[in-house]
Symmetry: C2
Amino acid sequence: MAPRKEVFEGVEWRIRVAADGSSEALVPATGLARKAWLGLKGLISGFALKVRMFVKKAWDVGTNDPRKVIHCIKVGLALAIVSLFYFMRPLYDGVGGNAMWAVMTVVVVFEPTVGATLYKCFNRVLGTFLAGFLAVGVHWVASQSGERVEPFVVGASVFLLASAATFSRLIPSVKSRFDYGALIFILTFSFVAVSGYRVDKLFELAHHRISTIIIGSSLCILVIMLVCPIWSGQELHSLIVRNMDKLADSLDGCVTQYFNQSGEGTNSKEEATDNKLQGYKCVLSSKASEESMANFGRWEPSHGQFNFRHPWKQYLKIGASMRSCAYCIEALNSCIKSENQAAKLIKQHLGSGCLKVSSSSSNVIRELAETVKTMKKKSSTTDLLAEEMKSAVQGLQNDLKTIPHLLNPSAIPGNKTLETACSEATTPTVTLMELVPVVTLASILTEISGRIEALVDAVEELAKLADFGINDDKSKHSKMTDKTVSDAKQQTEGTMKALQRV
Amino acid sequence: MAPRKEVFEGVEWRIRVAADGSSEALVPATGLARKAWLGLKGLISGFALKVRMFVKKAWDVGTNDPRKVIHCIKVGLALAIVSLFYFMRPLYDGVGGNAMWAVMTVVVVFEPTVGATLYKCFNRVLGTFLAGFLAVGVHWVASQSGERVEPFVVGASVFLLASAATFSRLIPSVKSRFDYGALIFILTFSFVAVSGYRVDKLFELAHHRISTIIIGSSLCILVIMLVCPIWSGQELHSLIVRNMDKLADSLDGCVTQYFNQSGEGTNSKEEATDNKLQGYKCVLSSKASEESMANFGRWEPSHGQFNFRHPWKQYLKIGASMRSCAYCIEALNSCIKSENQAAKLIKQHLGSGCLKVSSSSSNVIRELAETVKTMKKKSSTTDLLAEEMKSAVQGLQNDLKTIPHLLNPSAIPGNKTLETACSEATTPTVTLMELVPVVTLASILTEISGRIEALVDAVEELAKLADFGINDDKSKHSKMTDKTVSDAKQQTEGTMKALQRV
């Protein structure tokens, strides 16, 4: 906005001078120079502002995740170390000008996470080896076939192998594991096979290339694993736990907000709540990152709580299960924002049931998050909470069944509470249209609880595959669960009280 | 399966011999050899089966999208052409051993689409230029500072610039446009700056590197644009149109199936319908590919119906809008599969309204798909269909309003049709629980129609930005729309008839 304003100010000023008119003959020259000067000033200040904004954005990137800055320093460090090859004579004498390949290897294989770096190193070494052997073979065949035919043999082999290797990159199972390796295969094969036509010491070239790549790769692996390592697997694990908490917050918050709309809140608190409510959107959009992390995770050795063959693929299933819940929360959100307003009477009638379902459902999700986070099975607690959720759903269904009486109160003889409630409400008989939003909400909540059961199964499958221990730290754990449950209860009660005041 | 069976057969045979007992002394040797032979046979046949399955998968990849095969041939072709550099003496003499850089450029910048290749070429050339200039400057400064200090100046500059460039790759706005360029910058800078310490003819090296990269890039651009070009923009355009059709099919199909569950269908037909119903899942999962296509699309020159600065970003908005519809269809699907069965009476009562909403909504989506596909605005038709959708929604709301009479038929004096319907049904009075699924379905359908209106706005915005023409081919167009509408009407009528028979 601001740079535009500056430019506009310049233009505005120019018009004022032109409108002056008194010194019209002189104005064009002065005006032009001034115009140019002001235009230039505007451009410069606009540019400066852009630069400032860019620097601010960059600063935010760095402060939001300091590990990114550490990654950059690690890249610089690895490159500075590998440059030593060039500067130290004994090393230079060993591999000669080919030391450059070590530098190149560091530049292209160094990735932010250990898994991605290992994947690239392994692929680079494997691709180079395979291509090197094949290329030397092809070169030998070509050199036996006479000088005139040689270029054609080499050219044809490059064409065929490059096409085949490119095709292999398009097959999903190859792509997920060896995409980079296939690229390096094509690169090395073309390099060695074609060089063979001009370079005499082909074996030496291939040997140097392979050894420098191994040196570069080893250096990368050392730096990435020793200096503040970031593990893909650990990242995936944390992402799943974080997303589960976000899902629980969204579900809880959005139902509570609906039944508590009359309750006042400060603006800043509302903003924080809004952020919480939107948390499920992170779940919706994290599929791609989950997949790449799981893909790189399997290259990582045992680290922290995770073994070498930790079932990363199961995390993808948990992620998919969470997304299926998030789709429903999206529908829930839209039904909450719907234009059809529900009758207060119905809101009162179903409020407690809906809040119970949402809070018990989110408790299950939070408990699952805790299970995944600590990697300790607490099946009894999960089962208990899941049972609580099921009974809450059953309660909501029962509440739904009693609604027809509200539609026509005279049909229930002697039902005092309901009759009192009806007489207190402004509209004694509720129309079906006023009922639709809450009924929809209730039935989406029921669906969500069903999907959470699938999520429980997925987490249990993970616990089985990854051999989660039993959490014996009973006192601490039960205290935590109790706290969660009591927090949720308190929240529900508060909302219910607010509801009573409506 | 088969390899396991083979292995098992071998084991079975060994046990039989051991049970024989009569020639026990001789058995171990023969048994071991046979066992080894059979085990080897099993391994080989298992491997052969794996290879066969892999080849089948590869064949499927090729036959499903022949353009992938063409892409592979293009890569081979480009590499074979660039190899000529090495084989033809005049060219080789021009750039010497550095001709290898042209080969490497072709290998790494050749991508399946024109946009991606242009992006990489541009980034590679720009990164190389910038880094080359900087590195030569740094080399000059270093060489002035004395032989002992030189390695440290070079090392420090590599460390600083590599860290800074790596950091820039983590800033989203830089990443989306110059990620590859920053990588190449680091690569070239390290290469030239560090080489400067050992190589005398540094200018020549930088010059050769830049000219070979330009040669390689130009060749790639020529091949990718002249031989069966695949445009990212065109792909994105088709993907959006295809997804719109899928969305319309899913929406239509899933509501029709729900109200037509009693209607029989052959198995193969059901399978085809199921595939159609699942179409919305493609919409849910195509965010990442849409983004990368839009990203590459902006590098592409004018092609086909698209100008250089075609508003590709607006396609992302349309995609997001479609996904928001797809979330609701997901919820719709789950509500259709819900365990609570709706009463037949209610299904009959709301069926026609729901079917009208779904068919008019999908007509709007199909019309939008047609608009995007032909890039011709037919605002009158879209408006007409949108109006039709709105009035269908209004009709459904009215139908909902009359439901309470079904809950208590005696309340409506003289409403013959409804009373007849009630007396025909097995349960004269419907419980609310039997009503919940249909009410939920109706309210999700209403929500979907609201989201489709947002989609209409997004497409209209695209029409404005991309300056869509007016479709003057009236007869053809109205014929098409008429066909769509009449098809939908026929379908609705058929379902309604089936519904009457229930």
